[in-house]
């Protein structure tokens, strides 16, 4: 007999991470999604909004409305939530460096609509630490950034009590290669850094501190090894319970509960045979729903075409339906915890806890997570873990169906459509957003804008909470870029270590060893023949923060003997061309995953030409649809690589041959 509805547990919050082109287009999408049974909103912002630039800033070129919705001022926010009741909605915003600003716009909008801030519920991601380590939308140095987080926490605890002001993220760490133990350890270190900072601010009385602890929620990942992942979540719960009790003396167990939302792993989703991603996603979801004690509060799933480009509404609907089948058709929600009492699970959980404790101690001994970010330690650990993963894929030790085994396939009907089976954002979006912003600037009260910005500067300098000043800015019509620049002027900017300087000899596996030796020989021989060692520039133009590919290409190139220049993410085409010139490199490799490859590659080529470097070979890699790859080649790009080119050795072989060809030497061909 099926259980009566009242006996079933409430399902988790079901979300779809979305937003694109403009506030208007995204609002339409949200309203259709809500009509389909989605129970909360998860807003994806475009990169200029996430990094505090206006749509008309030169740095925003090509990025406006691409990977998310552009929000330049309060009118955009109003349009984004048109006909959506803010007091009834649970809104999650993936926003970090500018979280205080987007929250201010949201609160300001609520005030304008006559809704008390106390009625708002939702989440601002607001975790800067994983931005430095993985996600890349940082702006300010660690000190001021942590202070902004503390300010939003202190503000919301008092004025927006249903808000989750920060979401400590381990999700992005796994996407940058972290192992389960690293995910546990670094997320908990992050939570400690946040809580310690709030405590140090002195704004919260001691007896109210447990409420702050209770407001900390997490955003985690679940990969394909779903048994281990399920154990990881149980380990998270136990570690958090102990930590909040011992370190922060939270005596009420309810306030010590580990609350988390999930996006399942996307790093393992493939471009080859993309339909297989559906099974992967469902299995990954299982990890976070199976154990009642460690069940997710909110879930968002990627789509089957994740590695091809942005999902279309139908792709997202399919992902939402996976959740609904799990929650409403299966009997999962009828039982208590089905893993309690299993010795196998318990042993795995303790093993993970042990490992995490050791790594937490290690980080604490280095002065805490901020110090370990500044020194580059954690980033190096992540780059090392990701390198191990890629090498295992390359050697075949880690099997990825359709990629390094079972590659033969019938033609997929899913990818046959003329649209490349991905979402195309509106090409007019950038221009329209700029026009809208410029019209907005003309229509506001300049004196009030100036006064509000001055008050923000004063608060930033004095150490007073920036939230009230930011809300005043929001209501005055200040723009995202103005808010960002005002704080840049006070706090300065920051670029974290790239982590690619991992020790080469401490790593045993080098992929296919014989191939590596052959490559080293080829690189050395070619260097001798042209007179100096081969030098490669790996460049990340634009606001794109996806660094994994660039890092791994850089590390691999060093391993096979290249001298490699890599200056990290978010550089302008001009900076990249200038580095290519000053460094005298033999080849430039660009990595772009944000979808802005056409604009950015063209600009880099132009900048190179203006420096007499028209003959310098340029290659590109990333999420680049086939037709775009052909257009890039027509522009003069020598080769384009996408995720299906998983063999870094093969890529290195190609690069050596490209340099040889450009220097009048014969090609050496495929590796043996």
């Amino acid at each position: 007999m099926p259980a009566a509805p009242k006996d079933r547990d409430q399902p988790w919050l079901m979300r779809t991470y979305s937003g694109h082109s403009s506030a208007k287009a995204s609002n339409e999408l949200y309203r259709t999604n809500l009509a389909k049974g989605q129970t909360g909103l998860s807003v994806a912002f475009d990169l200029p909004t996430q990094t505090g630039y206006d749509a008309d800033s030169p740095l925003a070129r090509g990025e406006v409305g691409k990977v998310g919705v552009p929000i330049s001022h309060i009118e955009d926010m109003d349009q984004l939530f048109a006909e959506i009741p803010l007091d009834k909605m649970n809104t999650s915003m993936t926003i970090n460096a500018t979280a205080a600003w987007l929250l201010s716009l949201y609160v300001g909008l609520a005030q304008r609509r006559g809704i008390a801030p106390s009625q708002l519920s939702g989440t601002t991601q607001n975790d800067i630490i994983k931005e430095y380590l993985s996600r890349g939308t940082y702006i300010y140095p660690p000190g001021p950034s942590m202070r902004l987080i503390a300010d939003t926490i202190n503000y919301t605890v008092k004025h927006v009590p249903k808000w989750n002001p920060t979401n400590v993220c381990s999700y992005h760490l796994q996407e940058a290669g972290a192992t389960p133990v690293q995910e546990l350890a670094y997320a908990l270190c992050t939570a400690m850094a946040v809580l310690d900072r709030v405590k140090a601010s002195g704004e919260i009385e001691a007896q109210a501190f447990p409420q702050v602890v209770e407001r900390i929620s997490f955003f985690v990942n679940a990969g394909i090894r779903f048994v281990e992942e399920c154990c990881k979540l149980r380990a998270f719960g136990e570690l958090w319970d102990q930590l909040t009790l011992t370190r922060y003396q939270v005596t009420d167990p309810k306030l010590r509960r580990f609350r988390y939302g999930v996006q399942v792993n996307s790093l393992g989703l493939t471009e080859a045979q993309p339909e297989n991603n559906v099974q992967r996603i469902v299995l990954e979801m299982l990890a976070v729903v199976l154990s009642k004690r460690a069940r997710a509060r909110a879930i968002q799933l990627p789509a089957w075409n994740e590695a091809m480009g942005l999902p279309r509404p139908w792709d997202q609907q399919w992902a939402l339906r996976m959740q609904q089948v799990m929650a409403f058709e299966t009997d999962l929600l009828e039982y208590g915890d089905i893993l309690d009492g299993s010795p196998v699970i318990a042993a795995k959980v303790s093993e993970l806890i042990e490992g995490a404790r050791r790594e937490i101690e290690n980080v604490e001994a280095q002065g805490g997570i901020i110090a370990a970010i500044e020194s580059g330690y954690i980033k190096r650990e992540l780059v090392g873990s990701h390198m191990d993963r890629l090498r295992a894929i390359e050697s075949g030790d880690l099997k990825i169906i359709g990629v390094n085994c079972f590659q033969e396939t019938a033609e997929s009907p899913l990818t046959l459509g003329g649209d490349g089976a991905i979402m195309k954002t509106d090409p007019a979006a950038e221009r329209e957003q700029i026009e809208r912003l410029q019209a907005h600037r003309r229509n506001r009260n300049d004196a009030e804008v100036r006064a509000a910005l001055q008050a923000l500067t004063d608060a930033a300098k004095s150490g007073e909470n920036v939230m009230p000043g930011s809300i005043r800015c929001a209501l005055a019509g200040v723009s995202t870029g103005e808010w960002g620049d005002t704080l840049r002027a006070v706090f300065g900017e920051f670029r974290p270590p790239t982590g690619i300087d991992i020790a080469i000899d401490s790593r045993q596996v080098l992929g296919k060893k014989d191939q590596v030796s052959e490559l080293r020989e080829r690189v050395a021989r070619t260097g001798n023949a042209i007179g100096r060692p081969l030098k490669l520039l790996v460049g990340k133009p634009g606001l794109d923060g996806h660094s994994n590919g660039a890092e791994q290409v850089a590390v691999k190139a060093r391993d096979v003997g290249f001298e490699v220049v890599y200056d990290g993410i978010r550089l302008t085409p001009q900076q990249i061309a200038q580095a290519a010139q000053e460094e005298g490199v033999h080849v430039v490799g660009l990595s772009i995953l944000s979808g802005s490859h056409m604009e950015l590659v063209e600009s880099v080529l132009q900048e190179l030409r203006s420096r007499d470097l028209a003959n310098l070979p340029v290659i590109a890699g990333g999420i680049i649809p086939r037709e775009d790859a052909e257009r890039l080649v027509a522009l003069g790009v020598r080769a384009v690589y996408t995720p299906k080119d998983f063999s870094l050795n093969a890529i290195m072989g190609d690069i050596v041959d490209l340099v040889r060809e450009c220097n009048g030497l014969e090609r050496l061909g495929l590796l043996h």
């Binding site: 007179g531 100096r532 060093r558 001298e563 220049v565 000053e582 005298g584 220097n663 009048g664």
Partner: protein
């Protein structure tokens, strides 16, 4: 061979470098890095074309050394900001370690990211170099490259690989050598004990923002530095700086300027540069051909004399000596010739 066709004409290149054309500076550095025989010939011609009186009198070569992580790159960035504000152009050579030859000998050149924050600046030029497993904290290429840069930038900075105790080479390149220490670091204390303390002209204890520990380290250095009295009249200043908060930087730069005037006024600047050039030629020859090679040229003393005769053509002279040794080697290895 096509790549030789692509090598630039050295005399024309020199003219463009003296006009401070960035593209020319870049291709000049590429040429100096090139080990093909024809490239070496042209390199010698390029440096000869750039040479002149000004080479012994103008500009300022500053070497920055110190243990890894002390903040050398960050400090160079802070110094650049000040120099650029005062309108001086800056060339930087940043040296990073290479992996061991059996591990491929590759290198990650990661200093640019620390040194450069401004977007585009015509007056700043950074070239990163791998040390290619040469001992001593710099690479051989640094010597000719720093001279090229001296021809077109007001200030040339060389950042060494931070290896702690062995980077003596920098003393044979820089007019002024700055040692960057970080607070309470074992490296620094060891360094103090090792006696190499006589090399730096200026000490900078970085990360002063970290507080008391920085003061302590500074006073420890202060106590040992003057004992060396390497050059009378020079006071071996110890400055407390913070690259992060940008404090103490102007004071440090004043010491740099003061040191340069000190050398120039005492008539030592040109002598020092000539001495450095000689030391490098001997070093490079010795590295390539061993003591035996030096003997073939008549020994260190004679080499020194030959170089002194033609002070602005040291590199060309070096190339001539190299060829001479080669020809001797070949004749020695001829059948029948006596082997000594």
């Amino acid at each position: 061979m096509t790549q030789i066709v692509d090598l630039p004409d050295p005399e024309q290149l020199a003219l463009r470098i003296l006009r401070r054309e960035r593209a020319a500076v870049a291709s000049g550095l590429n040429l100096l890095d090139n080990k093909l025989a024809e490239a070496r010939n042209r390199s010698a011609r390029l440096l000869a074309a750039l040479a002149g009186e000004h080479w012994l009198k103008d500009g300022h070569l500053i070497g920055i050394t110190g243990p890894p992580g002390a903040g050398k790159s960050s400090l160079v960035a802070a110094m650049i900001r000040e120099w650029r504000l005062s309108g001086r152009s800056v060339g930087v050579l940043a040296v990073d370690p290479s992996s061991r030859p059996e591990l491929g000998g590759g290198a990650l050149l990661g200093d640019r990211i620390r040194i450069k924050h401004a977007s585009y600046d015509e007056g700043l030029f950074i070239r990163s170099l791998a040390n290619r497993n040469q001992l001593g904290g710099v690479a051989n290429e640094v010597w000719p490259m720093s001279w090229l840069m001296l021809a077109c930038f007001d200030i040339v900075v060389i950042e060494t690989v931070g290896v702690g105790q062995t980077e003596i080479d920098i003393a044979e390149i820089g007019d002024t050598v700055c040692y960057v220490a970080q607070p309470a670091s074992g490296d620094t204390i060891q360094y103090l004990k090792s006696g190499i303390i006589e090399i730096p002209d200026i000490f900078a204890v970085n990360k002063a923002d970290l507080g008391a520990a920085a003061h302590k380290t500074a006073s420890e250095i202060g106590r040992s530095a003057p004992r060396q009295d390497r050059r009378e009249d020079w006071d071996y200043p110890v400055c407390l700086v913070s690259a992060t908060t940008h404090t103490g930087i102007t004071a440090m730069l004043e010491h740099c300027d003061r040191h340069r005037s000190f050398l120039a006024n005492a008539g030592w600047l040109d002598k020092l540069r000539l001495r450095h050039q000689r030391a490098w030629v001997v070093r490079l020859l010795k590295e390539e051909f061993g003591t035996f090679g030096l003997e073939l040229l008549g020994g260190r003393h004679l080499i020194g004399q030959r170089l002194s005769e033609n002070p602005s053509h040291q590199f060309a002279e070096y190339e001539r000596m190299r060829k001479h040794i080669f020809s001797r080697f070949i004749s020695i290895n001829q059948p029948g010739s006596p082997t000594t």
